[in-house]
């Protein structure tokens, strides 16, 4: 059947220039050399998976909800703390690691938390362009850090803890 189709196409195209031959998922043009002009290969990724936008939306919700202190003596996170959190998200390899849960603490911290069957990571921003973290994973020594620049992004060791592969 495919051969018939190509014979039909050949009859429409001047054979002095181009001849079409069948391949399973495309055409090969034979002139002086051959080119596949169409390749049928499906896209397999999930279009609905949108972690960056979901985390930005979560921060927007928290910012609106906690614009003022939620409890007596509590401090709402600063605009800068939310901005640091956004900047940090854009350093995360979210194709490799699962999304963190994001909360705010009564002392004005924007907190990122990852938890899996064998690991936990806590990471927080106060709006000084720096963050602190603590990570623990079964079979590994815990790691912690303070005053890490947001621009430096998540430490490699933490990526290893939270990897989704």
């Amino acid at each position: 059947m495919r051969g018939t189709n190509f014979n039909f196409v050949n009859s429409l195209v001047s054979s002095a220039f181009v001849e079409l031959s069948p391949v399973a998922s495309g055409c090969i043009f034979f002139d002086k050399s051959s080119y596949v002009v169409d390749v049928s290969m499906p896209v397999l990724f999930d279009v609905s998976n949108n972690p960056t936008k979901e985390l930005f939306d979560r921060l927007r919700d928290l910012k609106a909800r906690y614009a003022t202190g939620s409890m007596p003596d509590s401090t709402p996170p600063s605009e800068k703390a939310f901005q640091d959190a956004k900047d940090f998200i854009l350093t995360l390899p979210l194709a490799q690691i699962v999304k963190p849960a994001i909360h705010v603490a009564s002392d004005g911290e924007v907190n990122f938390h990852w938890a899996g069957p064998d690991f936990q990571i806590d990471l927080g921003f106060y709006g000084d362009e720096r963050f602190s973290f603590y990570g623990a994973k079964e079979g590994h020594d815990p790691i912690l850090g303070d005053d890490v620049s947001v621009k430096d992004g998540i430490p490699k060791a933490l990526v290893g803890f939270a990897s989704a592969a």
Binding site: S33, V47, L90, A95, A164
Partner: protein, 272 residues
């Protein structure tokens, strides 16, 4: 401030695929070797699915033709992400392409040897090249960006550089829904002209404006290859698979550097 974001933190690559295309559709011998390939990859890619081919023949009533029983002519093997939200990587052998799909892209340094390793291990088990020669190498990148802001201001000019070489200027300020598709040949490894297809589109995914950048590079061998040694090692000055893929990867990076604005290039690590 409103703007486009890479879909996954600093990652814009939603899927990278390396494919090897053959001159003929795979036959039932490929299905017969599926078990051996399944065993070979049982720790890397534990989920196996056979693909059956059905043939429906439509004939004239006075010349009835028999329909062919289904046969296994391809399969796919995959590894799920640890959080169970979909595949991390897939090896597909169907219909005349062996392809490795990487959906958790980390870097070219890690992904290229992984893909070449999967393809060569698979070819070793299938013994395919002796009866069905390889005609082309395919590298496909699918990048995805999501708009953070009101959909009515999600113009492509928030993501793309004005005066770029690849999309028509008309789409830059015409809202969130558009497409711009093109194809061209350019010299790659060994001076071979490879076909590039670039399909760029703006669309709504749910309520979120998204931009998809789908670049496929098809490198046809000057002569079909029928040995694994020739494919992986090159011969007579012809480039090896690794070198071909490097040139295709470089072409993709050049396209992105020309298309995307400076901020996005910095975010995804293509500009210091």
């Amino acid at each position: 401030m409103a703007g486009f974001l890479p879909f996954a933190g600093k990652n814009a690559i939603a899927e990278m695929t390396v494919g090897l295309q053959f001159s003929l559709p795979f036959d039932s011998k490929v299905g017969g070797s599926a078990e051996a390939v399944k065993l070979e990859f049982q720790s890397d890619l534990p989920k196996f699915e056979a693909v059956q081919t059905f043939s429906f023949n439509v004939g004239l009533s006075q010349f009835p033709s028999a329909n062919v029983a289904p046969s296994v002519t391809g399969f796919s093997l995959s590894r799920e992400k640890s959080d169970g939200v979909g595949p991390a990587r897939i090896l597909r052998v169907i219909p005349n392409i062996i392809s490795v799909h990487i959906l958790q892209y980390s870097s070219w340094k890690e992904s290229k040897p992984l893909a070449i390793g999967y393809i060569t291990r698979c070819l070793n088990k299938l013994g395919l090249l002796e009866r069905n020669s390889a005609v082309s190498v395919i590298l496909r990148y699918l990048d995805r960006f999501t708009f953070d802001g009101a959909p009515e201001i999600a113009n492509a000019s928030n993501l793309f550089r004005k005066g770029n070489n690849y999309i028509v200027s008309r789409i830059l300020d015409c809202g969130s829904q558009w497409h711009s598709n093109s194809g061209w040949f350019q010299p790659m490894a060994g001076g071979v002209l490879a076909l590039n297809q670039l399909n760029v589109s703006g669309t709504l995914v749910g309520e979120s404006p998204s931009v998809f950048l789908d670049h496929t590079s098809v490198y046809n061998f000057q002569k079909p290859l029928s040995s694994l040694a020739e494919l992986t090692g090159g011969s007579d000055g012809k480039p090896a698979l690794s070198e071909i893929l490097d040139s295709q990867h470089g072409a993709n990076a050049d396209i992105l550097k020309n298309l995307l604005n400076q901020d996005m290039l910095k975010t995804i690590g293509l500009l210091e």
